[in-house]
Symmetry: C2
Subunit: 369 residues, 2 copies
């Protein structure tokens, strides 16, 4: 194996989409010599024009090959290039991991040089045009190598990911796939199916939509091509989550149906079913880590401020918060159609709530807390 | 009917929860004489102690009675008090509307004096403690009176809602219930069912959760008691939406099952099913109105900025945006566990994207756009 000098070396990126081109740009910024290749020559050319590296394949083994092709295509492409570059270390950037090494191994390739990875960053605009050198800065980058991978190669890929600014973390591949089925893939499908209900609806109905619906459908705007691949590649874990949700949905729907049927005695039982579901939802919601791992309810408080919808108002607001030494955990802006004002929701640590609200009120803002 | 002077009069609020107490506080701030009553004397006392008005019932007819009791209880309470106060105008504040007048009428009360309403505001903390006089400022307040309501009473309630700062809009009651089933009640249930999946999950799995899951489960933190009532009261329209989503879910699950079964020929068909679902989701998402009614995709662009997690940084950021005369449509803060920096996502009108990004970059911020 070629000794890779600390930091840089020769990199081949296969697949010049958003993630692949971003990897290439990030590596180039650190001094790597980079080649980019894509099955679509036009896409590769666009990545090259963006400064991602030399378009084409190196004639001798690169130190590292990053496979940034769609999840279902990874094993075939990995096997092809593992057989072409016999000393290179390989990694991929797909959102689904368990099939990568298994299927590549089944194709007879040397998987000791393949370290599967999942940088958890992306964007709503696919393709090289939206790529950027710092896409992975402050993002989690999961590696799922098992005992089949050469330990030094794993360290090599971990160092590469860390050099891109990412937080590197190690997971079992199957556990990763189950986790993202639950936390990413099933949520994507639910958002999609909910948003799809709006597609052939009377547009007037959507006028009554609030922030809840906007939140619930935000990821429904994601790229169909990429997500079709992700869902296909993680079919079994996603199905497990969907089946469980569907069973719960059936229970809730049966309760509502008993009420709709007008049976007065059924209402008490239906009420219990709905209340239990809502309460379990509360419990699950509280499991999602906030910053520093604290659960949102215990750690944070919300202050609402009415803000006029014109440039500079938010600056005044945040300048005041900064002056009061308050650190904002989150900010939401809730506009009402046709109104010249909006509500700004400021999330702060519980012990900073009063400080912030009083500072804003003293400065003349309309504050609710 | 007592002539109500422009602006103020005598108001009775029945139900001293968050919304009822907020109505009382808002009316008092405008000079109304207010009584608050609640089936739970302790709740009424807490509302009174908060300055919501005199605890108890007026001995002569008030000008306006606001029913702020749970949705399923409205008809019974409405009928009781319509028969007690024979000249008063009535409105309610429930999230479900079609049953209100029908069931009150079936109880033999004079529904010409009942103007059903739905102020679209609330909060995550139920009860009078979280009430505030300006809860309805800049919020939509729907009225669903039909021909059974006296036109002057409708105007009276509309004026009351407008005086609370709300944007008053008129809807057919059944259309309102179908609309909120789609835009609010079904989304609430999906968020709840998704979050419930996290309740008995390995906490480690949730570590891989990103902003998508946080968005999808935010409303799962809502009050079980209130939401059970809302869902029961709107059972049929909610069921219609759930049944449609379940049918789509079954289609998607069947596609994934064919892939999981390992049939190669099935993958092409499954891919088409998933892609169609994602594409319809894109279409539906684009239906949700942004500010000024523009669809998000055509009107807005996003600029990402890395921000150090300490007081004052956001103030610096927004001061710069304000100085550049850029109006922020939305702000999101994306923290990464254990990292001292966060990514701030600024949404601006498309024609302000470059101005903002260049201003930030010139000031030394790490900007992605």
């Amino acid at each position: 194996m070629t000794q890779v000098p600390e930091g840089t070396g020769r990199l081949l990126v296969i697949g010049a989409g958003l993630v692949g081109t971003s990897v290439a740009l990030g590596a180039r910024a650190q001094g790597w010599q980079v080649w980019v290749h894509d099955a679509d020559p036009d896409v590769a050319r666009r990545a090259g024009a963006k400064g991602a590296g030399e378009v084409g394949l190196p004639t001798s083994d690169p130190d590292l090959v990053v496979l940034a092709v769609p999840p279902m295509a990874i094993p075939t492409v990995a096997a092809e290039y593992l057989k072409r570059y016999l000393t290179s270390t390989f990694t991929d950037v797909g959102s689904v991991k368990a099939h990568v090494v298994d299927e590549t191994q089944a194709l007879g390739a040397d998987v000791s040089r393949l370290v599967p990875g999942h940088p958890m960053a992306g964007g709503e605009v696919p393709g090289p045009g939206a790529a950027r050198a710092d896409l992975f800065d402050d993002r989690v980058w999961v590696l799922t190598a098992d005992s089949r991978a050469d330990a030094a190669r794993v360290e090599q890929v971990a160092a590469f990911a860390a050099a891109q600014g990412a937080v590197v973390t190690r997971w079992d591949a199957a556990a990763h796939d189950r986790a993202v089925a639950l936390t990413s893939h099933a949520p994507q499908l639910l958002s999609t199916l909910l948003a799809a209900r709006l597609a052939d609806q009377d547009p007037a109905d959507v006028q009554l939509s609030g922030q809840g619906l906007r939140d619930m459908t935000r990821i429904a705007g994601s790229d169909p091509g990429l997500w079709t691949q992700i869902l296909l590649a993680n079919a079994v874990p996603v199905l497990d989550v969907l089946d469980a949700i569907r069973a719960d949905l059936d229970t809730v729907a049966a309760a509502l149906r008993s009420v709709a049927a007008g049976s007065g005695s059924a209402t008490g039982a239906a009420e219990q079913v709905l209340r239990d579901a809502m309460t379990r939802g509360n419990t699950g919601r509280a499991r999602i880590p906030g910053k520093h791992g604290l659960s949102p309810a215990e750690a944070f408080a919300t202050v609402l401020v009415s803000v006029t919808d014109r440039p500079g108002e938010l600056a005044r607001l945040f300048a005041l918060a900064g002056g009061a030494q308050v650190n904002l955990e989150d900010v939401r802006i809730d506009h009402v159609l046709g109104r010249p004002t909006g509500l700004v929701e400021l999330t702060v640590a519980v012990d900073q709530e009063t400080v912030l609200a009083e500072a804003l009120a003293a400065d003349g803002w309309t504050v609710r807390w």
